[in-house]
Subunit: 437 residues, 2 copies
């Protein structure tokens, strides 16, 4: 008998400590508890299973403990038991071949890195299958020396790495609608992800070409069939923009721009042009289709506001979240993600009573400049109706607005840059649903 | 004609600035240049391609720019053009079913995160395919309340994330041999990787069970067919050990312990027991097979030294590295990775002349506690024979030893914990080969 079998048999009935004294640990209304409960304190048996019955006497050695499994492999894949953890690519539109988006399953992930297979996508003519040996990046326009770089030459340049979020400016756009959509954290908010991007500072390549003194804008164009193009002010381009070749350590995935993309920290995702093939210096922006017909803000008077690049301070609760069903009363961890295009997250507050009272959440120590920050707060649910809201503040003091504040600022025709506080309603039967407060 | 075609046609012959004045930028022997060259300075045309000829007049619009590609997908995969970037699983041994290791292709990656598909593996009875619904983690032995946790209950506990390396204590073991093995950075050093691990602090679960005062050791056992077990001192277990459920944001991969593993920061990889099913508290270590027959250090007098857990300070140059072939004279980036089981990397020095002179490399700003740090230094190769060595120092002042120092300390029978400086010899024809100095 193995050590494991012996010990399983030894396990007797256990009386879990299900109700510790928690009154003095409550920090805000409707069950919010101190974030200091997160570490090193007994959690009163939250979710623990008593080691008797099914897991004691009836326990039998599983088949995977009895016979060797397959050996090492070349490139690993997820377990078949997590086959439901997928991006949601929606339905293909025959009038828009290759167009569309897929959303990251935020409610099924933990930590702050998005694995490459689940990073959100947004395409305007699908994913080109580019042979790097037949691809080049051109720098031209107002430069001293027009240049072209092939993939092998780019690999010889110095690179830096940054772990930062990418968010589509259309993310959470459904929350502008009058009626609250019945969706999940993925379907409503899944156009945001975070990765370690490694690439050449664009400034290094621009230095090689020699930028002419009159240049003010950089136009980036992709090699996809949409010739996706965006204009970026030169001062941003030479500040922190990367010509990225690697994502979480390996070469970019095809849907993320393989072999080379722009990565523009903190700005709307669309300007991080994928499948990058041209950088053109100019006095004025290029007025590409995707900065006139799309990715402009329509104001209340129906005029268009262009070049609203930075992403605002924002947070979302990923658990509990839309379409989840709380099964038992007791302790839960309210978890979520926060980020800001301006810098790092300094504070996240949570309300369980629709904004009447607030408590500060614990933020993961890894929260960095323009990265996703993971926040958590223990919450005791005892069957009350609850309205869960998170509110983020960044290191510049920017505070995530309420939905009403955002609508008042952006007007009724807005679609992009929704960063307002979102509310998940928990009904007394445990159903979780998107709502407006 | 699209903007892109116009601009390609406009490109004329370019005279690249191939030889800037670099004499005053040399900082050590045999071509090592200032690390300040990494950003914002013209790099003298290193690797740039002149925008004429093949990329100018002969340029034709590639097929992927002419027709839409496939739309978004559920779970993305690498480009077929990087199909050669694989772990090296070696040959299967019929006498050791499922046993063996696969190594991370360090020489083909950049940045510091290892993508989940390429994280190194080491198995003692292959990869079990575990159904999380039929799996439990037991805590027993010297505790007040023996407990069992199923997967769903573990998901309700508070989690933290840490981006840290994992290294097999057998990594680089071939460098103990008398003759220098002719290998790559992958085949020699590929049993180290780095990921964002997310899980429950083991201390939280131990608090639930109530550790008895006389307990001094924690024994962790896996559910694989080897019942892989290791003993860990209790003070480490309650310090920073995680019961990890997520890796780079998504559930653990099967070969990394799905559904749950131990993660023991900074210690030899084997103690981070995968497929975790038991945590037993005891007065003495359990003397598992894998801490007696394996993972002990055989000393010069043939006695065994057990429980040599921490991984030393170490660095390796990943480019140029073994079996690479430098094609042209000119500027290269010497790149590599450094780490320490004690803390963070504070300095990496590089020599291009076999250790006679040294220059300090640039370290990526993301170097954190027990994470991989990426270092870089520009190097001008003009056809000389060169011996490239890196030497890391951590924030406790530990300095990576020379091979001779390590051999003198560990004796001729050592196999584990090789962390000495490694030398890549670059021959005058550009061939790169592992060597001893």
């Amino acid at each position: 008998m193995s050590i494991r079998e012996t010990d399983v048999a030894e396990l007797g009935a256990v009386e879990p400590n299900l109700e510790p004294s928690t009154t003095d640990l409550m920090v805000a209304g409707n069950g919010l508890m101190s974030r200091r409960l997160l570490l090193g304190l007994g959690l009163g048996g939250a979710g623990l299973t008593v080691a008797s019955g099914a897991l004691g006497a009836d326990f039998s050695m599983p088949v995977w403990s009895k016979q060797p499994g397959p050996g090492p492999s070349g490139y690993g894949q997820p377990s078949r038991f997590v086959a439901d953890i997928q991006r949601d690519p929606g339905r293909a539109n025959p009038l828009y071949p290759g167009g569309g988006a897929s959303r990251t399953p935020l409610h099924q992930l933990r930590g702050t890195i998005t694995p490459n297979g689940l990073h959100f996508e947004r395409h305007h003519a699908g994913v080109p299958e580019i042979d790097p040996a037949a691809h080049a990046v051109f720098i031209n326009g107002l430069v001293e020396r027009p240049l072209a770089f092939d993939y092998e030459s780019l690999l010889r340049y110095p690179m830096v790495s940054r772990t930062q979020f990418l968010e589509c400016s259309g993310n959470s756009g459904a929350l502008f609608r009058d009626a609250a959509v019945d969706g999940t954290a993925q379907s409503i908010n899944g156009l945001v992800s975070c990765a370690e991007w490694t690439g050449i500072p664009l400034s290094v390549l621009l230095d090689e070409a020699g930028v002419s003194p009159e240049a003010r804008w950089v136009s980036a164009v992709g090699a996809d069939a949409a010739s996706m193009g965006r204009s970026i002010p030169l001062n941003k381009a030479v500040d922190d923009v990367l010509v990225a070749l690697f994502q979480n350590g390996e070469p970019l995935r095809p849907e993320q721009g393989y072999p080379v993309r722009l990565f523009v920290p903190g700005w709307e995702g669309n300007v991080s042009v994928k499948w990058l093939t041209q950088i053109k210096l100019s006095k004025e922006p290029s007025q590409f289709r995707d900065e006139t017909s799309k990715y402009t803000d329509t104001l209340a008077d129906r005029s268009s506001l262009q070049f609203t690049f930075p992403m605002g301070v924002k947070s979302i609760i990923t658990s509990p979240s839309g379409k989840m069903q709380l099964q038992t009363h007791g302790l839960y961890q309210i978890e979520g993600l926060a980020w800001s295009g301006a810098g790092s997250i300094s504070k996240v507050e949570i309300s369980a009573d629709g904004g009447a009272t607030w408590a500060e959440a614990a933020i993961d120590a890894q929260a960095g400049d323009k990265s996703l920050a993971r926040f958590r707060l223990p919450w005791r649910w005892q069957g009350n109706s609850a309205q869960l809201i998170s509110r983020a503040t960044d290191n510049y003091g920017n505070i995530q607005p309420t939905r009403n504040q955002l609508l008042a600022e952006k007007g009724a025709l807005a679609f992009y840059h929704f960063n307002a506080q979102q509310c998940w309603d928990v009904s007394s039967n445990g159903e979780v649903k998107n709502t407006y407060v």
